[in-house]
Symmetry: C2
Subunit: 203 residues, 2 copies
DNA sequence: GATAAATTTATAACACGTTATATGCTCCCG
DNA sequence: CGGGAGCATATAACGTGTTATAAATTTATC
């Protein structure tokens, strides 16, 4: 039995292989595009057997999901970093953060997202759907508590709605319908029309 | 040389095979689900060779797109059928029509849509993206001309925006994130917040 | 009606994601 | 240190969408 905190040699070895697979996947996507990312090629580049990525991740989709692992954490951290400011401003601030982060590497993120979304079955939890809704609802509840929202607004329902709009438009960006700038503009416009008239951008 | 209007025997025979393939595809999806729709099984059910659907449609995705062929026409016809009424009312009326039409056969349409959206590359034109934008812009231009919109609203930009929101949320419905009722509710709410305060449902 | 062109057919093959099988290696525990 | 458990490996295989090849069949043209 291993104690929590310290990792067995076995686990460290698995982590190493996980890292090798993730690095190889990211490099192939960046250098040659996601259509070149086959499991055989990935295994070869990561210097593991074909079976190993399946053992460590489960499927090709799970490898792509792993490339986005720390993304949710960063999103939440960004929202919390803007601590003193009004909740609605923080909400729109997450949009700015998202745009900044993704536009630095738009092609990469688009290909990863699209690869995930085109899986046979998309499991909402795994793509951060629930977490995004929870975060948005949380910010809107704070906004309501601070009097930033009209009293008759259901903060939870609105939070779910705004999160759905965000993810929906993101999905079309991933499918190549428009670029990231247009994607964020659509979300910003939709969000702004449902929230009181404040400065909707922190830039 | 064939005259326009009359079809050659060649073309009639191809139309017949197209119909056989489309009917077989729809039947397999309805009876056994889209995961049972393989090209080999489809060819067998349609009583054609494996190659023929590729000759007649191009790819599996194109077969699915063909199942939705007359959908756009119906959408446009529905918008025009409500002729006398205000343009904004007609716009929301198309939402009602969409909900009525699809809820009668939700599982079928969802599987077809999802099958199309999960293709390697989605071509916006082929999924009716451009047509939907054009229709929405048209209705909003009429609304502006009839004074239903504030003077400072850019009808074309708003039309594109509303169409994008519709298609985006539709994409998430197709991926199974929520059901059709929730899908339409999200679109209605997003649309309503961007248009003047009228009765947003014709029901 | 004969000949050429267009389609369909039958069969095999390719690359893909994924799984099965059997073998080998490495680490943990007594 | 020895043995068993956990994991990686190599290889083959399956079903998938799609394409190649060559033969058969249907349609158009002279």
């Amino acid at each position: 039995m291993e104690r929590s905190g310290e990792k067995s040699q076995r686990e460290k070895s698995k982590d190493l292989n996980r890292q090798k697979v993730k690095n190889a996947a990211a490099e192939i996507i960046r250098r040659e595009g996601i259509e070149q990312l086959t499991m055989r090629r990935l295994a070869e580049a990561a210097e593991v057997s074909l079976r190993t990525p399946y053992n460590l991740f489960g499927s090709k989709t799970d490898v792509l999901l792993a490339l986005l692992d720390d993304l949710n954490d960063r999103y939440i951290a960004a929202a919390q970093a803007m601590d003193g400011r009004p909740a609605l401003r923080r909400l729109f601030g997450t949009l700015d953060d998202f745009e900044r982060e993704f536009s630095a590497d738009e092609a990469f993120y688009r290909e990863v997202f699209h690869g995930i979304m085109t899986a046979d079955q998309v499991e909402p939890r795994r793509v951060g759907y629930d977490g995004l809704i929870a975060l948005t609802q949380d910010l809107l509840r704070q906004a309501a508590a601070q009097g930033e929202l009209p009293a008759d607004v259901d903060a939870d329902a609105l939070g779910e709605h705004l999160a759905v709009l965000f993810m929906s438009v993101l999905g079309m960006w991933a499918s190549g319908f428009f670029d990231l700038r247009a994607c964020v503009a659509h979300v910003r416009r939709a969000w702004a029309s449902q929230t009181p008239d404040i400065e909707t951008s922190t830039r």
